[in-house]
C-alpha cells in the first residue's frame, strides 16, 4: 500500500524524517518496502503566482506573454512568463517554477527565449509537477485548498503537496485495519508515542434512520454482513481540487471526478471501500444483494462482460445486476458527468467469498484486496462519515436525511487475560505491566489490572486478529520487546544432533560420485506425461502409476517424475548442445509414484547417474575411456563397495535400456530374496535418439534400499600376517557362460583357501575360436598361519580346472 507521508503525518507526526518513520514502522511490523518520491525532488523555486496580464505573443499564435506577480520576495516587479497553455488568463492564481527550479524529469529551469521574448519562469500544469495527469492546461489554484486568497510568492509546497515522500508498505494479511492511512497512523503512534489525532470519522454529519426514495435489501446476510447507503442530492460532478488529486496520485490512484475521487480517498484513509451509484440510473431506486445465478452475466465498469457462478454475489436493481459485490461496479449505474443524485454504498462483505470470486474472475482491485482480508462492520460507518463530509464540501451536495443500514452493526468486545509471567516466558525478556498497558492503549486496546496481569479489551477492528493471550503478547512484543531481545540458546535437554544411517549413506553415495568426477545436478520434479512414451514404458508398467497434478502450470509439467532418467536426459541434452558431447552427471532426489491403493504417493530417494561421451578430458598422452555399460558399472561399484554393500547384477531388460546391455542391481540374496536396488545399462538407442544423445549409460538405485543393505557399522576382520600366493589362470570357455558363473564355480571348487578371484583379461578372436572366449583369472590363495607354496595349491588348482571343464572350459597354453 502506498501512503503519502504528509497524509500520514496529518494524523500522527513524530517529528522524524522519512527514514526515521520508515525505521519505526518497519521495526514494529509495518514493513516499508520502498520510499518513492512523488512530484518534484526539491520544492525550492516553486511558488504561487498571480497572472496580472496575459497577452497574445506578437510572433506566435499559441503563446501568451504573461506578467505574473510572484510576490514581494521576487523583487516586486512582476515576472514575464511565456505560456503556451490555452487556459491561461489574467486573474488566475497559478503554480510557477522560477529559474533554478528542478522539474520532476531532472531538468533545471533557466531563463528561456521564446520567439524573441525572454521568459522568466514557467507556469505549470499538474503533469509538469507530476502530481496529476492534467496536461491540457495549467493548474489553476483559484478556490483551491483551505484559502482561496492565496498570496503570490507563497512557496507552492505550502499550498500543494508537490514534493511528497510516499511510503510503500507491506501490510500483513492479519492487519486489514492498516489498509488505510489512519490505521497506519495508529501504528506510528504506538511505535513512537507521538500524539494521534482524533479519527476522521469521529464526527458524522449524517443522520440515522430511513432514507426517502431509496431501498436496499440483502438476501444473503452470510456473505454481506452489513450494507449501508446514503443519498446525496444536488451533486455537481467536477474535477477534484488539486490537493485531492495530488494525494490520490501520490497514493497510486488516478483522479476521475470528484465523486469517484472521494470514494477512493475515503477508502485510502479508512481502509473501507465505497461505491457510488448514480441514483437516477438505479432502476426502481432499490438495490438487492443476492447470490448470482450460475452463468449469469454482468457488464462491469471496465466494459467487460463477466460470467458468474452461484457462489458470487451481485447487487441488482429492478432491471437486474449492476455490480459484482466488493469487486467492481457496473457500467449501467456508473456516476457520469450529468449525475446529480448519488447513492453511496458502503458494505461489509465476506472476505473469503470475495477472495474466491476475485480469483475465479481474475479481477483484482484496491477494493477486493481490502474486502478479501475481512473488514469489520463498524468500518462501514467510518467511511460513510468521512465521505459525507467530503460530498458536501467538494461536490456541493446535500446529504439526504437518514442512513440505510442493513445487517449487523458490530459485535460485543472480547476481554482477554494477559499474564505478566506468560509474556516473559514466551519472549525471554520481561515487559513491565504498566508498559504493557501503555502499548496496548496506544493500539486502542483498553486494559484493567488483574491479579496476575491485565484484562484486555479487544477493539472492534482487531477482533479477528486478536483472540488469545498469545496474540496480545505479540502486540506487546512488536512494539517493545523484539528490539531488546537478548540472543540466548535453548537448554537443549537430551538433544544430540546427528545424522541417521540413511542420511550418512546418502552423503557417502553422493561423495563417491563427486570423487569420481561427476557433477551433481538438480532436475525438475515435474514431468511431461509423454516422458513415459519416450522412455518406451509399456502401458501396464509400474512406472505408469504416476502422481498427476490437477492444476499443473502446463501439460508438460503435469506429472511428478517416476524416475530420474527423464530429468538426467533433459539436463544431458542441454549440456551436449551447449558444452559438447562429454557428460558425467548424477542426481540425488525424490521420485514419486501414486500409491498402489488409496490416496497418497510412494516416494523414495534415488541416486541416478548418466554418462555419455568420454569420461576423461582429452589428453596429450593417450586414449580416453568411453562411457559405456562397464564404465557405469565401475562407477556403481565405486559407490556400493565404498558402502560395503554386498551386491550383484543380474541380466534383465528394462524398457528404456538396450536389451543386451541392461541389468538389475541386487543386494544380498544369500538365503533370502535379494533386494532390488535399481538398474544399470546403456540407454536403448531409440530412447537416446529421442533426446538427441549418442551412446549413453545410466544407473539408478533406491538409496533407502542401499542404506538398508549397507552395514551401519563395519566389524574388523583379522588379516593374516603371512603373504598371499598369487597365480594367474587363463581359460577358454563358450561365450555364453557368464563371468559371474565362472567365478562362482572357481570359488566353490577352491574352498576357503581361495581368498580372492577376479577377471583381469577377456579375449575373443581367432586364437580361441568362434563362439568361445578366453578369460584370464587372478587367483589369490591365503591361509592364516603359513606362507603357501605352488605345491600347496597344486591340488586346489586341479580342482578349479576340473570345475571349469564342467563349464566347457579348457586351460589356455
Amino acid at each position: 500500500m502506498r501512503v503519502p507521508l504528509p497524509w500520514l503525518l496529518e494524523y500522527c507526526d513524530p517529528g522524524l524524517d522519512v527514514h526515521g518513520v520508515e525505521e519505526r514502522l518497519t521495526m514494529t511490523g509495518t514493513k516499508v518496502e520502498a520510499i518513492h518520491r512523488q512530484g518534484v525532488g526539491s520544492a525550492a523555486n516553486f511558488v504561487v503566482g498571480r497572472v496580472l496580464e496575459a497577452e497574445q505573443h506578437p510572433d506566435a499564435d499559441r503563446l501568451k506573454v504573461c506578467r505574473v506577480d510572484l510576490g514581494a520576495d521576487a523583487g516586486g516587479e512582476p515576472a514575464v512568463i511565456v505560456c503556451g497553455a490555452p487556459n491561461v488568463a489574467a486573474g488566475q492564481t497559478v503554480a510557477v517554477a522560477r529559474p533554478g527550479a528542478v522539474l520532476p524529469d531532472g531538468r533545471e529551469l533557466g531563463e528561456a527565449r521564446l520567439r524573441g521574448i525572454v521568459s522568466e519562469g514557467m507556469i505549470l500544469s499538474e503533469s509538469e509537477l507530476a502530481i496529476g495527469e492534467g496536461a491540457d492546461g495549467i493548474l489553476v489554484l483559484d478556490g483551491q485548498g483551505a484559502d482561496a486568497q492565496l498570496v503570490p510568492g507563497t512557496p507552492l509546497a505550502d499550498v500543494l503537496e508537490i514534493a511528497t515522500d510516499v511510503l510503500e508498505l507491506e501490510i500483513t494479511p492479519n492487519r486489514p485495519d492498516c489498509l488505510g492511512v489512519y490505521g497506519v497512523a495508529r501504528e506510528l503512534h504506538a511505535a513512537t508515542g507521538a500524539p494521534l489525532a482524533a479519527a476522521p470519522w469521529s464526527e458524522d454529519p449524517g443522520t440515522p434512520g430511513a432514507v426517502a426514495g431509496a431501498q436496499v435489501s440483502v438476501e444473503c446476510p452470510d456473505l454481506c454482513p452489513r450494507f449501508t447507503a446514503r443519498v446525496f442530492e444536488d451533486v455537481t460532478i467536477a474535477e477534484s481540487p488539486a490537493w485531492l488529486k495530488a494525494r490520490l496520485t501520490a497514493a497510486g490512484q488516478r483522479p476521475i471526478n470528484n465523486v469517484v475521487d472521494i470514494t477512493n480517498y475515503v477508502m485510502l484513509l479508512t481502509g473501507q471501500p465505497l461505491h457510488a451509484f448514480d441514483l437516477d440510473r438505479v432502476a426502481g431506486a432499490r438495490l438487492n444483494v443476492r447470490r448470482a445465478h450460475d452463468g449469469e452475466q454482468v457488464e462491469t465498469l471496465d466494459g467487460q462482460t463477466r460470467t458468474l457462478d452461484g457462489e458470487m454475489v451481485v447487487i441488482e436493481d429492478a432491471e437486474g445486476p449492476t455490480s459484482i459485490a466488493g469487486l467492481m461496479g457496473g457500467a449501467r449505474s456508473e456516476v457520469a458527468s450529468d449525475t446529480s443524485r448519488v447513492l453511496l454504498e458502503v458494505a461489509t462483505w465476506s472476505g473469503p467469498n470475495i477472495h474466491r470470486t476475485s480469483s475465479a474472475l481474475g479481477l483484482r482491485s484496491e477494493a477486493s484486496n481490502r474486502f478479501e482480508k475481512g473488514l469489520q462492520p463498524e468500518q462501514a460507518m467510518h467511511a460513510q462519515a468521512v465521505a459525507t463530509h467530503l460530498m458536501v464540501e467538494l461536490c456541493g451536495a446535500t446529504a439526504a436525511p437518514g442512513t440505510i443500514d442493513v445487517g449487523e452493526q458490530g459485535r460485543p468486545a472480547r476481554v482477554i487475560r494477559l499474564r505478566e509471567q506468560r509474556v516473559r516466558s514466551i519472549l525471554g525478556v520481561a515487559v513491565p505491566v504498566p508498559r504493557q498497558a501503555e502499548i496496548l492503549g496506544r493500539l486502542d486496546f483498553a486494559s484493567e489490572p488483574a491479579p496476575d496481569g491485565l484484562d484486555v479489551t479487544v477493539p472492534p477492528l482487531r477482533r479477528d486478529d486478536v483472540t488469545r493471550e498469545v496474540d496480545l503478547i505479540e502486540e506487546v512484543a512488536r512494539i517493545d520487546g523484539l528490539e531488546r531481545l537478548p540472543a540466548t540458546l535453548p537448554a537443549r535437554r537430551g538433544a544430540a544432533g546427528m545424522l541417521t544411517h540413511a542420511q550418512r549413506v546418502q552423503r557417502a553415495a553422493e561423495d563417491a560420485m563427486v570423487g569420481r568426477g561427476l557433477h551433481e545436478v538438480v532436475g525438475w520434479s515435474f514431468a511431461d506425461p509423454e516422458l513415459l512414451d519416450r522412455l518406451r514404458i509399456p502401458a501396464d508398467d509400474e512406472m505408469r502409476r504416476v502422481v498427476t497434478l490437477e492444476n499443473p502450470l502446463s501439460q508438460a509439467q503435469s506429472i511428478m517424475r517416476p524416475t530420474l532418467v527423464g530429468s538426467l536426459l533433459d539436463i544431458a541434452r542441454h549440456n551436449v548442445s551447449r558444452n559438447g558431447p562429454d557428460v558425467a552427471i548424477f542426481e540425488s532426489g525424490t521420485v514419486l509414484r501414486a500409491a498402489r491403493e488409496g490416496p497418497g504417493s510412494e516416494e523414495h530417494h534415488a541416486l541416478g547417474a548418466l554418462l555419455s561421451g568420454s569420461l576423461t578430458p582429452r589428453s596429450w598422452r593417450g586414449a580416453r575411456d568411453e562411457a559405456d555399460f562397464f564404465a557405469a558399472k565401475a562407477l556403481l561399484s565405486s559407490m556400493l563397495d565404498a558402502l560395503h554393500v554386498d551386491w550383484s547384477v543380474q541380466p534383465e531388460t528394462w524398457p528404456f535400456l538396450h536389451p543386451g546391455r541392461s541389468a538389475t542391481v541386487l543386494a544380498g540374496g544369500h538365503g533370502s530374496e535379494p533386494a532390488r536396488l535399481g538398474y544399470l545399462g546403456e540407454l536403448h538407442p531409440l530412447v537416446a535418439a529421442a533426446w538427441d544423445m549418442e551412446r549413453t549409460a545410466v544407473f539408478a538405485v533406491d538409496l533407502g534400499k542401499v542404506a538398508a543393505a549397507a552395514p551401519p557399522v563395519v566389524a574388523f576382520s583379522p588379516f593374516p600376517s603371512v603373504p598371499a600366493l598369487r597365480q594367474d589362470l587363463a581359460v577358454t570357455l563358450p561365450d555364453t557362460v557368464a563371468a559371474a558363473e565362472v567365478l562362482d564355480r572357481v570359488r566353490a571348487a577352491a574352498g576357503e583357501i581361495l581368498d580372492d578371484v577376479n577377471v583381469f583379461d577377456v579375449y575373443t578372436g581367432g586364437q580361441v575360436g568362434a563362439g568361445r572366449r578366453s578369460l584370464a583369472l587372478a587367483l589369490s590363495f591365503q591361509t592364516q598361519d603359513r606362507t603357501l607354496t605352488d605345491e600347496d595349491v597344486a591340488p586346489v588348482r586341479e580342482r578349479i580346472v576340473a570345475a571349469l571343464a564342467g563349464l566347457g572350459g579348457e586351460l589356455r597354453g
Binding site: L427, D471, A487, P490
Partner: protein, 355 residues
C-alpha cells in the same frame, strides 16, 4: 725394467687423466692392468728375475699398479658423476604440460552443498535432521498449521493439488506436526526438502527448497530463537554478522517475525567504501533471510497424544520456536547468483563454478 715401469705409469697416468668416458677408462684398465697387459706381466715375471733385483722391480711394479688402480677409481667416480649429470640434463621434461591422464573434477550442486552446510550448522546446535513426503495431505500442509479453511494459500492458484485433500507440500512446515506426533518433547529437528508452489517468473520457480527448524521444550523463548539464528547467521555469513527480528505474520507462529541478517557485502552500512549504494541489500544494511516465530498454541492442539509422543504437547506446558528458510535464497546471497533459473538449468558452466 724400472725405467719401463716408470714409463708405463707415466703414459697410463696421462691417458687416464685424458679419458672422457667410462668406456674409454675401462679400455685403459684392460690395456694397463688386464691380464695380458705389460705391467701385470712384469709382476708375474718378477720371480724369474735375479734375486737381488726382485725386490726393487717387484716393489716398483706393485706401486705402479696400485697407483694406477687408484687413479682409475678416482677417474671413474668423476666420470660417472659427469655422465649422470649429462643424463639428467637429457631427461628434462616440459613440466608445464598438463598432468595425465587427466582426473575429472566433480562437485555437489550448490543447493546440495548449501543444504549440507546448513544441516551441519544445526547438527552442531543439537538438532537432528528429518525428512518428509512431498505429496502431503491438506491436513498437515494447512489445517494443522492453523490455516483457516478459507486461507488464500489453499487456493489452486497458490497450491498444486493431486486430489481434493492431497497437495504437493507448499513448505516444509507440515513436518512440524508429523514430527511432534512421532516424538515426545523435547524436540529439536531441522527438515530440509523440496517444496512446490505454482509460481513461475523471474523471482519464483515452481519448485524450490527449504529448511524448516522446530524446537519444542518447556521453556523455549523468542530470545532462544534469536540466539539460534544468530549462530546460524554467523556460521553462514561470517562472525561479524548480527540479526534483527521484525514483527510479521504467519498463521502457525505467534509472535511471528521475519529475520534479517546484517549485510555482509557492506558490513551492514548500506553503502560501499566508495559511497555507492550496496547492490546486495539495496542500501538497507540488512538482508531478509527467513520467517520464524514461537509455535502458535493452536498448532499443538493438532498433535494427538499417543504412545509414541507421550506425554504429548500441552500448549500450557510446552513452547518452542519454528522457522523456515529458503535454501535458494541463502545460496543466492552467499554466492551472488543472479537468477533462480540457473539452479535448475544445470549448465555445466554453472555446475563447475560452484560451490
Amino acid at each position: 725394467m724400472i725405467e719401463r715401469i716408470e714409463q708405463l705409469q707415466a703414459q697410463a697416468q696421462a691417458e687416464i687423466a685424458a679419458a672422457g668416458t667410462s668406456k674409454t677408462l675401462e679400455e685403459l684398465r684392460v690395456r694397463y692392468l688386464g691380464r695380458k697387459a705389460e705391467l701385470p706381466q712384469m709382476l708375474r715375471g718378477v720371480a724369474e728375475l735375479e734375486p737381488d733385483r726382485r725386490g726393487e722391480v717387484g716393489k716398483a711394479a706393485n706401486q705402479a699398479r696400485q697407483a694406477l688402480e687408484r687413479l682409475l677409481e678416482e677417474r671413474s667416480v668423476e666420470l660417472q658423476a659427469q655422465e649422470l649429470e649429462g643424463q639428467l640434463q637429457e631427461d628434462l621434461l616440459d613440466v608445464t604440460l598438463p598432468g595425465a591422464p587427466p582426473q575429472p573434477i566433480g562437485g555437489l550442486h550448490v543447493l546440495s552443498a548449501t543444504r549440507r552446510e546448513l544441516e551441519d550448522i544445526f547438527l552442531g546446535l543439537g538438532f537432528t535432521v528429518i525428512e518428509g513426503p512431498e505429496v502431503e495431505t491438506v491436513h498437515y500442509n494447512f489445517d494443522a498449521l492453523n490455516h483457516s479453511p478459507t486461507h488464500p494459500a489453499r487456493a489452486r492458484t497458490d497450491t498444486f493439488y493431486v486430489e481434493q485433500d492431497l497437495v504437493l507440500r507448499t513448505h516444509t512446515s507440515p513436518m512440524q506436526v508429523r514430527a511432534m506426533e512421532a516424538h515426545p518433547p523435547p524436540l529439536y529437528v531441522v527438515i530440509p526438502g523440496r517444496v512446490y508452489r505454482p509460481d513461475s517468473d523471474a523471482t519464483h520457480t515452481p519448485q524450490f527448497h527449504q529448511i524448516e527448524g522446530l524446537a519444542v521444550d518447556e521453556d523455549i523463548t523468542l530470545a532462544d530463537l534469536k540466539g539460534t539464528l544468530l549462530a546460524f547467521a554467523r556460521a553462514v555469513f561470517g562472525e561479524e554478522r548480527d540479526v534483527r527480528l521484525r514483527p510479521h505474520f504467519f498463521p502457525f507462529t505467534e509472535p511471528s517475525v521475519e529475520v534479517d541478517v546484517s549485510c555482509f557485502n557492506c558490513e551492514g552500512k548500506g553503502y560501499m567504501p566508495d559511497g555507492s549504494r550496496c547492490y546486495l541489500c539495496k542500501g538497507e544494511g540488512w538482508l531478509e533471510v527467513l520467517g520464524a516465530g514461537e509455535v502458535d498454541p493452536n498448532v499443538y492442539s493438532y498433535v494427538p497424544t499417543t504412545e509414541l509422543n507421550a506425554p504429548g504437547y500441552d500448549p500450557e506446558k510446552v513452547q518452542g520456536f519454528a522457522w523456515g528458510m529458503g535454501i535458494e535464497r541463502i545460496a543466492m546471497l552467499k554466492h551472488g547468483i543472479p537468477d533462480l533459473r540457473l539452479y535448475f538449468e544445470n549448465d555445466l558452466r554453472f555446475l563447475e563454478q560452484l560451490p
